[in-house]
């Protein structure tokens, strides 16, 4: 087999070596672009960081100025026989270099909050996680049973799904003000936004998953003497469990995407509060570190749940690769 057909075979699993290579590359490539832009001085770098103000009185060491402005000032200084300012090309403050963000990963956790009432980063993160957790758990407690019932009984589906179908198009953040009015300014409205963002999709997805269960399994159970409740709890529920678990993983990802909006509602809190605060102080390395942290937590949870899923459902056929 030639190498191109190996890499670009239509709907064939990749060999493990290629898979690992591409997985690493998918993270490495964006990082490489970031490094290029940050460390190669002639790529972008629209600013000049002043190292010596020279004869320009209003320049200060460490100041970032536009390249044009710098050259204008340098020219003026030369005309007036003042000492020439010196500086290095630099990127804007909102694009910190990879190593700065990498240090921020550590220093963000060790930096003491500016005020006593403010929180450490790990406290902010933990707060965010609890908001997600409660929003998602409350949604699942109602959404999963309702979804299963909708998928099993046409009558329940007809009664609920048309309205839910309509409601899911309403953007969850639109309910922010209402949620604050009803639930106060603390975690209540935030959890409510996560709930609204998750619940309606959840019911529809779970009912769809339930409907995909092979009818032949239900018929087999009927001919074996299963009735009503047993049909539901001994066939439908275990039958959809692995697929339901996969749905939950996807839905949890969606819940995370509602986090930032949710935390801006009422009193800003959690990781969102940290990000806005750090942006205000222009600590963009911390901002990037925090954003990446959300991604890391998200993907780590998902990988963990995926690994757990393999243990939970030994009857699932695991295809290829692993």
């Amino acid at each position: 087999m030639s190498s191109t057909t190996q890499w670009l075979a239509v709907r064939k699993p990749l060999p493990p070596k290629q898979t690992a290579l591409l997985t690493i590359a998918s993270f490495l490539l964006p990082l490489l672009v970031w490094c290029f832009v940050s460390y190669v001085p002639f790529i972008w770098h629209p600013k000049i960081e002043v190292t010596e103000p020279g004869g320009v009185t209003w320049f200060k060491k460490g100041m970032l100025v536009d390249r044009e402005l710098f050259s204008d000032q340098a020219m003026l200084a030369a005309e007036d026989n003042r000492a020439a300012p010196k500086g290095d090309r630099a990127n804007p403050v909102y694009l910190p270099a990879p190593h700065e963000v990498a240090t921020a990963f550590y220093s963000a956790f060790t930096t003491e909050p500016k005020r006593k009432s403010e929180k450490w980063l790990h406290e902010s993160l933990w707060h965010s996680i609890t908001v997600i957790f409660w929003g998602f758990v409350l949604s699942s407690l109602i959404g999963i049973p309702l979804g299963i019932l909708c998928g099993t009984y046409a009558a329940v589906s007809r009664l609920n799904e048309p309205f839910i179908e309509f409601f899911r198009y309403l953007p969850a953040p639109a309910f922010g003000a209402l949620a604050v009015a009803i639930l106060g300014i603390h975690d209540g409205p935030k959890i409510a936004i996560i709930f609204i963002g998750t619940f309606f999709q959840q019911v529809l997805i779970v009912s769809n998953t339930t409907r995909k269960l092979d009818v032949a399994l239900l018929e087999a159970a009927l001919t074996l003497g299963a009735k009503k409740i047993n049909l539901l709890f001994r066939v439908v529920v275990p039958g959809i469990l692995p697929e339901l678990y996969r749905d939950q993983r996807i839905l949890l990802g969606w819940a995370w995407t509602y986090l930032i909006v949710a935390e801006l509602i009422g009193t800003s809190s959690g990781i969102t509060w940290f990000i806005t605060q750090q942006a205000r102080y222009k600590n963009f390395d911390n901002v990037f570190a925090a954003i990446i942290m959300i991604g890391v937590i998200g993907i780590a949870t998902d990988l963990l749940l995926a690994a757990l899923g393999k243990r939970l459902f030994p009857w699932e056929k695991h295809q290829g690769n692993s």
Partner: protein, 302 residues
């Protein structure tokens, strides 16, 4: 094969005739009376079954055969209670059936083992539905699993089994409920020829050793003759009983009988019934045009 040399499929040797006489003395397990089934579809009403009448006796092996789409699955699903008849009735031990129940075990065309249960738990499923305690259910299930020769796979999941093994478990699962009749819808249709042959022999062995009546759907003529006491031949559009044939091949059945005179005579009759020379075949002849150059030295065309 020269049809002149074959006896009539109706000729029965004395032991065979005596066996049928005894069989007809036995109690009737399943009776189908004037059964009709129509489906409402977007293209209008489809008559899947028309005026079906037949009876099966205790411990009889009946095969149902017919062209694809003639209503075989519809018939067996109606007997199982998974479809309700448009008119007519199905009597089990003289009592009409309305819904699925464990007194009629079913083995389906596809694989319908519960993927989340081990072989043992699959076989225990029906027993537990009946309120057997876990311990008794487990004991009985293991006996049935042993009967189909899968003891060492009791704790395997269905996806770890071959197609033949899955259908054996399905048979054990249905039989564990001690049904009056076992309904089987092309259960070996998806298996390779060799496995199918083994499964047929196994099924006959099981049938000989326990008190069970079997209604078995197939479209494989050899399979029907090899297994059945009587063969119910359906014809399509609408699905009607064409003939109910008593198989004159003596029991016990062996693979060697596939070329016996009785076997071939019965097969010839089935072929006449199922693949009658139709006008369609003649009105749609194929035109062999040479689409590509072939070396005529290999085989001249004209």
């Amino acid at each position: 094969m020269n049809s002149m040399e074959l006896p009539s499929y109706l000729d029965q040797a004395d032991p065979v005739r005596e066996r049928f006489d005894r069989l007809k003395q036995r109690e009737i397990i399943l009776e189908v009376k004037d059964l009709n089934k129509k489906f409402d579809t977007s293209q209008g009403q489809v008559t899947a079954l028309k005026d079906i009448n037949f009876k099966t006796h205790r411990r009889e092996f009946v095969c149902v055969i017919g062209p694809s789409g003639c209503g075989k699955s519809t018939l067996i699903r109606t007997l199982a209670g998974l479809e309700s008849p448009s008119s007519g009735e199905v009597l089990l031990d003289g009592k009409p059936v309305f819904e699925p129940g464990p007194d009629r075990g079913m083995v389906f065309q596809g694989y319908t083992l519960f993927p989340w249960l081990t072989v043992k738990k699959n076989v225990m499923f029906g027993l537990e539905m009946h309120g057997h305690s876990r311990a008794t259910a487990e004991g009985e299930a293991m006996e049935w699993i042993e009967l189909v020769g899968l003891s060492q796979f009791a704790d395997s999941y269905p996806h770890q089994l071959s197609g033949g093994m899955k259908q054996r478990v399905a048979i054990a699962r249905a039989l564990a409920n001690k049904p009056r009749i076992l309904l089987m819808d092309e259960p070996f249709g998806a298996l390779d020829a060799q496995t199918r042959g083994k499964m047929q022999a196994n099924l006959l062995e099981i049938w000989r050793n326990i008190d069970i009546t079997i209604l078995f759907i197939t479209h494989d003529l050899d399979e029907a003759i090899y297994l059945a006491d009587r063969i119910l031949v359906l014809k399509a559009h609408p699905g009607e009983v064409n003939e109910l044939i008593e198989v004159s091949v003596p029991r016990p059945r062996t693979v060697e009988q596939f070329i016996s005179a009785e076997f071939l005579a019965t097969k010839q009759r089935l072929e006449e019934l199922i693949h009658p020379p139709s006008e369609e075949d003649e009105s749609l002849p194929m035109h062999m045009v040479r689409m590509a150059k072939v070396g005529d030295d290999v085989e001249p065309v004209e």
